[in-house]
């Protein structure tokens, strides 16, 4: 291990590329003012060296194909390889977004079809596929809410309600859209406190952003009442689709009273997460909001076939260039067609079964608390607070110790309302044996915490690198090779 940086592997004169010759070898002069004079410190390597380097780096990374990856709220399910094969079709890769619509009927049909699926799955009436990710979708959604109120002259609706258990993107997106964020506390069941909600709504309320099931994995069973309160106050209901995997094929946000929904194709619909992206965050709305969607939409008409529809007069505009992450969209549609109605229902049922199985198997293990209700949906949040109090072993330590068993850690310290949170989302694509092994590992860590806490506190022991110092990273940022080089020349770094 300890693969050098690509810059450190560079040797003068090595070549890794081939370049076609210019059509005509004339000299074209860059204006003197613009000509590059500063050195171009790129590495020089041959192709075999580049391939070996990134192959080695890949081997220093853990993905869904390596084992269970139960990051809560991230839905790290298996990514079927057929998705990749379809997305690699030349009809995806070699198509320009500005092509005449008659030459991209296949691409437009795929977008149109995906929209039909998403409409039925969510109970919404129209979708945009433009947002590049969940947060981009949230931004789209809240901008639509904003446009709707402004369009109706309700300029005073400047407040967006967000539960304290919400994903951080919710308040951040609302703020980007210019809203003031009002936090709604959770009650002892881990769901929205209705009284607090009643108190919070007013003529300033633009809407409420909600995840259901919420980030505790708990279904907001008073959702119809919540919707009533918000709607009665003139606000709209926004559904954060991050947790849709829990209700896929069984319950529709539209039927819960939501007006705007974003989905994460890379979570629920099995497209790979790519180390952090690309994702895709389509946004669906009820009929009365469809005139505010970003442009273009995809239309269909017998004569014209599929087409890009820029005629959305009240559109919020664009939230990203072009039409969205098309290669991700293709993957999601592939998945949907294979799964079908029954398959999608099977997804949520087994995702929920897996989470509850794990909950019940782990419940009662010393050191792990289970705040709030026992019945969960796709994920569960345990609290390592008892363990911390009794042994000093924190949620972070538990997470790191899991790595020693070849397992990925859960999401930790989120949601914020659970102290020392361990947020576990197994998804439907792990096996019973993997769940049992995970529970076993967590139980063993509990034993260790109470018998030999140091082994947990100093974990991980068997990984390529030992515990990584993030405090140092923030204190003395080294963001690029350029910075590193400078610091090293000054003798200010010893890594």
């Amino acid at each position: 291990w300890g693969e050098p940086l690509i810059f450190e592997l560079s040797r003068e004169g090595r070549i890794g590329y081939t370049m076609p010759k210019p059509i005509e070898d004339v000299s074209v002069e860059i204006p003197e003012k613009l000509r590059r004079k500063s050195p171009l410190n790129l590495p020089e390597l041959s192709e075999p060296e580049v391939v070996k380097h990134y192959t080695r780096l890949s081997e220093m990374n853990y993905g869904v194909d390596n084992g269970i990856y139960p990051l809560g709220s991230c839905t790290m399910k298996y990514n079927p390889k057929i998705n990749e094969e379809i997305a690699a079709h030349p009809g995806v890769a070699y198509v320009h977004p500005y092509q005449d619509e008659r030459t991209v009927q296949g691409a437009l049909k795929i977008m149109w079809e995906l929209e039909q699926w998403l409409k039925e799955i969510t109970g919404m009436d129209r979708f945009t596929l433009q947002p590049a990710a969940g947060a981009n979708g949230e931004f789209t959604g809240v901008m639509i809410i904003r446009a709707y109120h402004l369009d109706r002259g309700e300029t005073q609706r400047t407040e967006m309600l967000v539960p304290d258990s919400a994903h951080g993107t919710n308040p951040a997106s609302a703020a980007m859209a210019g809203f003031k964020v009002i936090e709604i506390p959770s009650n002892e069941n881990g769901t929205v406190d209705l009284e607090a909600l009643e108190n919070a709504v007013s003529e300033r309320t633009a809407g409420l952003m909600l995840t259901n099931p919420n980030t505790l994995g708990i279904f907001e069973d008073e959702i119809l009442e919540i919707a009533k309160i918000v709607h009665r106050a003139g606000g709209l209901l926004y559904y954060d689709g991050a947790n849709l995997n829990a209700v896929l094929g069984k319950v529709r946000p539209g039927d819960m009273g939501f007006d705007v929904v974003h989905l994460n194709l890379h979570k629920t619909f099995s497209t790979p997460h790519g180390g952090g992206g690309p994702g895709s965050g389509p946004v669906g709305v009820k009929d009365f909001l469809k005139d505010y969607l970003p442009v273009p939409l995809v239309g269909y008409d017998e004569e014209r076939g599929y087409y890009l529809d820029y005629d959305v007069p009240k559109s919020i505009g664009k939230v990203k260039e072009l039409y969205g992450n098309f290669a991700v969209i293709v993957r999601a549609l592939t998945y949907l067609k294979i799964m079908g109605r029954d398959g999608l229902k099977e997804v949520s049922e087994i995702a929920v079964l897996n989470a509850n199985y794990l909950t019940q198997k782990l419940k009662g293990t010393k050191g792990y608390g289970l705040p709030h209700k026992e019945l969960r949906k796709h994920e569960v949040v345990f609290s390592a607070e008892p363990m911390k109090k009794e042994t000093g072993v924190k949620a972070l330590d538990v997470a790191k110790r899991l790595l020693d068993f070849g397992l990925h850690a859960p999401t930790i310290y989120f949601p914020l309302i659970v102290h020392e949170a361990l947020m576990i989302e197994p998804t439907e694509t792990v096996s019973k044996e993997e769940l049992d092994a995970y529970v076993e590992a967590l139980k063993r860590i509990s034993e260790e915490a109470y018998s030999n806490p140091e082994v947990v506190k100093n974990a991980p022991h068997s990984t390529a690198v030992k515990r990584v110092d993030d405090v140092l990273a923030a204190k003395r940022p080294i963001i690029t090779w350029r910075m590193y080089r400078e610091l090293r020349e000054k003798g200010e770094v010893d890594i």
Partner: protein, 446 residues
């Protein structure tokens, strides 16, 4: 269908029994009555059937391999070496997520650190994030950041900006109420400096592109930067990074923030997405604190060895929530890694050659086009060339399409003052026979 992805479909009863439940329904007992329903969706299909069906659908797209195309205007046909695609399909990269556990994610972290480092060399600024969604959103976030940093409320952009980017900027500017001011071009098709001087007062930031939307190299980058700085504005440069082997790094020309499109390296066109926005800035704590997006840093592990980790996260939404510098969470990591691999493959010589070949091919295209149509602007073009026709461009487009050639991007709709104009683009992939066929066809139809 779909059970082949769901191992415990076979273990339902056993697992329910183990946790003392009689049915799956009891797991959904908290859902209000009547809300669970049968969906009106098609049955699942076998992988083979879906493969057949989608292969056929996608075959209906005319690819650039079927029909030579001169479309550019922000999306270009660059060649992606096979090993780049191969490496990012390695499942350890492909199926991982945000590297929350650095100890088992050093590969992705280092690859992203290398991406940041390679971009830093290109743009001449030492602080680079791990990607935005695309150039357009990166530019819009740069506008918002300028406003936060300067506490001013106006962002100045060229009028000759792509309609895509303009609409993205407008949407992002709406929430915080940022005013967007457009500066026209001069007779050379470049930013009108005099007009800029008139408008720059109280600007949070000034934005310029290299090359500009008409494909022309803006020669007065440094002057624009000086005007911006004199007015107390941040200077934001948008750059097509494929030019940076032959053109000076914007950081050296005075840019405070550089944005651009990283996906020009390592990614195919994909009908427009995914992309990856470049976002770079100076090493200035004031700027870094306001920067959007994820950043990877180098640090040590507990044994003092080099290691990588996500850093400066207190700017981000999962910690700062409503006060974050941006709401971005999922970014375009894999696209960025692809760009890094491609860049590492090119090296300094390759990047220079790439720039030169594009420059020469563009010059060839421009020269040939000038034989059959009007080229309103001189200067040096990179990729795009603005061409003005006498006939309605839609007629010309039809004529070309009949000859199995896809013409350029019509801009008359967005810039009516330019008449029946279109952008025709060349890159290193453009073949002489394509250009010659285009010119022959234009002689007939233009």
């Amino acid at each position: 269908m779909g059970k082949h992805y769901i191992p415990n479909s076979a273990n339902r009863e056993e697992m329910l029994k183990e946790i003392g439940l009689s049915s799956i329904e009891s797991l959904f007992s908290d859902v209000p009555r009547g809300m669970v329903k049968e969906f009106n969706l098609p049955d699942g299909k076998s992988e083979y059937e879906v493969f057949l069906e989608l292969s056929e659908v996608l075959s209906k797209n005319k690819t650039i391999l079927d029909t030579p195309s001169f479309l550019g205007a922000g999306t270009y046909f660059h060649y992606v070496p096979a090993h780049v695609k191969y490496l990012i399909e390695r499942s350890e990269f492909l199926t991982s997520y945000t590297p929350y556990q650095p100890e088992i994610s050093q590969g992705m972290l280092q690859a992203l650190f290398e991406y940041q480092s390679l971009i830093a060399e290109l743009v001449g600024l030492p602080i680079v994030n791990a990607s935005m969604y695309d150039w357009g959103t990166a530019m819009a976030e740069a506008a918002l950041m300028s406003a936060r940093v300067t506490r001013k409320n106006k962002f100045v952009v060229p009028k000759h900006l792509s309609p895509e980017k303009k609409r993205v900027l407008e949407t992002y500017a709406a929430g915080p109420g940022l005013e967007v001011v457009e500066i026209p071009w001069d007779e050379s098709g470049q930013l009108d400096l005099e007009k800029l001087k008139e408008e720059v007062d109280s600007a949070a930031g000034v934005y310029i592109e290299l090359p500009n939307f008409f494909g022309i190299l803006e020669e007065n980058i440094e002057e624009v930067g000086e005007i911006a700085h004199d007015a107390g504005a941040l200077f934001v440069v948008g750059v097509d990074p494929t030019i940076l082997g032959i053109v000076e790094a914007p950081g050296e020309l005075g840019a405070d923030i550089v944005v651009g499109e990283a996906a020009y390296f390592g990614s195919p066109m994909n009908f427009g997405g995914p992309r990856a926005g470049i976002f770079a800035t100076r090493n200035d704590r004031k700027l870094i604190r306001q920067m959007p997006g994820r950043i990877i840093g180098m640090t040590k592990d507990a044994e003092g060895r080099r290691a990588f980790v996500m850093t400066l996260q207190t700017r981000e939404q999962h910690i700062r929530r409503a006060k974050a510098t941006s709401n971005i969470c999922s970014n375009e990591a894999l696209v960025a890694v692809a760009a890094a691999i491609h860049l590492a493959t090119l090296g300094p010589r390759g990047l220079r050659e790439l720039g030169e070949v594009i420059l020469k091919n563009t010059a060839y295209l421009k020269k040939k086009l000038s034989e059959v149509a009007e080229i309103p602007f001189g200067g040096i073009n990179f990729k795009d060339v603005l061409v003005r026709f006498e006939k309605p461009y839609s007629e010309i487009h039809e004529g070309l399409l009949e000859r199995n050639i896809h013409g350029g991007y019509y801009i008359g709709k967005h810039f009516p003052e330019l008449g029946e104009s279109a952008l025709f683009a060349a890159t290193e992939t453009t073949r002489k026979e394509w250009v010659d066929a285009l010119i022959d066809a234009l002689k007939e139809v233009a």
